[in-house]
């Protein structure tokens, strides 16, 4: 899932304070799971904005709502017309939702209420960790299912750097060294010798470094064209 955190309230207030009619719009998929931008958070944020506006004697009309996904057309159909009536939509979806809505809403600005961070998992409640960097060319088969791109602070492909310290990454004692984990996992799988081979320089053109990416699934396009 996509993981993000709500921006600091002061930063949100600075963005929002000049607008009279504001809609706080949540998204009920990934970003709701990490308690940053679902309908509950939209409700809470709208209340905070109302209180702040009252305290600051700013006349501001704040509403809130949420849709199932801010990254697909079909979920916007029922609400798009209504959203266009606001001076500002503060989207607390991930950055994808903000982009997507912004391209469809017409003249109303859409501002981000969330800092979108990474693709991650939820190993335990309230804990989210980055597990994939969307590099466009997956090598998890070579590394025991542990991503060296997203989980090694230097995205190393050929083993640990000199900074590994008691299984932790040199960047912080809170970060597990991905290569420490990879070596342990490969031992467990009985495939350690796979790591002895030198991996050549990567082709990063399929990652973000090749420019913005698109995926086209031909058979789905064909169905749509027929309809």
């Amino acid at each position: 899932m996509i993981v993000g955190q709500q921006k600091k309230f002061d930063e949100i207030w600075e963005m929002v304070k000049g607008f009279r009619k504001v809609m706080v719009l949540g998204c009920n998929t990934c970003i709701a799971v990490c308690h940053a931008g679902g309908d509950k958070e939209a409700d809470a944020l709208a209340s905070m904005l109302k209180i702040k506006a009252a305290n600051e004697k700013v006349s501001m009309d704040v509403s809130h709502g949420a849709i199932q996904r801010q990254c697909e057309n079909e979920f916007f159909t029922p609400v798009l017309e209504d959203l266009a009536k606001y001076d500002l939509v503060l989207s607390i979806a991930c950055g994808v939702g903000v982009n997507f809505l912004s391209a469809r809403i017409g003249k109303t600005p859409v501002y981000p209420g969330v800092n979108t961070q990474f693709f991650g998992g939820v190993p335990k409640p309230g804990f989210f960790e980055e597990l994939c960097g969307g590099c466009g060319s997956c090598v998890l088969n070579l590394t025991g299912g542990i991503c060296p791109i997203a989980r090694c602070s230097k995205s190393l492909m050929n083993g640990p750097c000199g900074g590994t310290n008691k299984g932790k990454c040199e960047v912080s004692q809170d970060i597990d060294c991905a290569w420490f984990l990879i070596v342990e996992r490969m031992k467990q799988l009985g495939t350690l010798e796979k790591l002895f081979e030198v991996q050549p320089p990567r082709d990063w053109s399929g990652s973000f470094h090749g420019g913005p990416r698109r995926v086209v699934v031909e058979h789905l396009r064909d169905i749509e064209e027929k309809q």
């Binding site: 230097k154 750097c161 008691k166 040199e170 030198v198 050549p200």
Partner: protein, 325 residues
């Protein structure tokens, strides 16, 4: 000869090689480099010129290496994977070779967060590169030198001829993988290896035996890294906080004893600890050179380049071999 560098000649001659380290200054002060180069000249076969170590902005390795070369000190330029992509790296190799540099050490580089770990503000918000890692960088240099090709495949009319080095942390985690870490660097093309600072010689011997069992000592020249200890505090810090470094208790005790011998005299305590530190260094050098497969030592006197002369002489490694025609 792969590069014709002095370091390569010394290693080829079978005599124990001595490399040292020169840290460029955090300002545009060439004199600092010149001063340190002259302190090291004649007492080592080549000196590493660090590449923004601990991610702190300093005179670039190539520029400082060129200044050192002009002073008559053979440099080992360093190249981290942190700051450059493969385009910038290869461009710098061409430029460095054109300037007459002949040795290069490839390293991953400390993460940029290190730059603000001490007293400095640093640049912890910098973006890092890591387009390629150390093994891949070594491979790129080798391909340029031996095949006359850029990494992408384009031809080089004149290939840069470098003696290629890589670092090795023999006692880092996960320790049983470390010999294979070395093997990968050698497979990629590392002609010489400089290790992380070693204080625990017994453990290092074990790791070297594993390296020998893989035949690596015959395919690369391993130079044992020795970091000159300055004080008991420094040894304690290295033991507790530096990855892949463990310091035997006896060594810390010896430094503490030297410190205590000075009583309340702080200046004397510093002097006595420095003397003890040099003594320890000489002993470590001698022990390291006895280990089968070790081809030399890499002695790092961090911000204390003037200590090298004494250490090298006391270790019986002076004068250095002279290959100048």
């Amino acid at each position: 000869m792969k590069s014709g560098s002095n370091l390569e000649k010394v290693i080829k001659s079978g005599q124990p090689a001595v490399t040292a380290e020169l840290g460029p200054p955090m300002s545009a002060d060439a004199h600092e480099v010149i001063k340190k180069a002259n302190q090291l000249k004649g007492f080592c076969d080549a000196a590493n010129i660090t590449d923004c170590q601990t991610a702190v902005v300093r005179i670039s390795s190539i520029a400082a290496a060129y200044i050192a070369l002009r002073e008559g000190l053979e440099p080992v330029m360093q190249m981290t994977c942190r700051d450059r992509n493969r385009i910038a790296m290869q461009a710098d190799f061409l430029g460095a070779a054109a300037l007459g540099l002949k040795n290069c050490l490839c390293i991953a580089g400390d993460h940029q967060s290190f730059s603000a770990a001490g007293r400095l503000k640093g640049h912890p918000g910098a973006k890092n590169v890591y387009d390629v890692d150390t093994c891949q960088l070594v491979g790129i240099m080798k391909k340029m030198r031996d095949e006359g090709l850029q990494q992408g495949g384009d031809k080089l009319e004149v290939a840069p001829k470098f003696f290629i080095g890589a670092s090795w942390t023999p006692m880092g985690d996960p320790i049983d993988f470390r010999p294979y870490n070395l093997k990968k660097k050698v497979d990629a093309g590392a002609d010489f290896i400089q290790t992380q600072g070693i204080y625990d010689m017994e453990l290092f011997k074990v790791q070297m035996e594993k390296a020998r069992n893989l035949g690596l000592h015959e395919r690369t020249a391993v130079l044992a890294g020795i970091i000159v200890p300055k004080s008991a505090m420094m040894l304690k810090y290295m033991d507790s906080s530096v990855a892949g470094v463990s310091v035997p208790k006896e060594l810390i005790q010896r430094m503490l004893k030297a410190k205590d011998a000075a009583g309340d005299d702080k200046k004397k305590a510093k002097e006595l600890q420095e003397q003890e530190g040099m003594k320890i260094t000489v002993e470590l050098i001698q022990q390291a050179l006895e280990i089968p497969g070790i081809k030399g030592v890499h002695v790092q006197a961090i911000e204390w380049e003037s200590a090298i002369e004494h250490i090298v002489k006391a270790a019986g490694l002076y004068p250095r071999p002279d290959f100048s025609e």
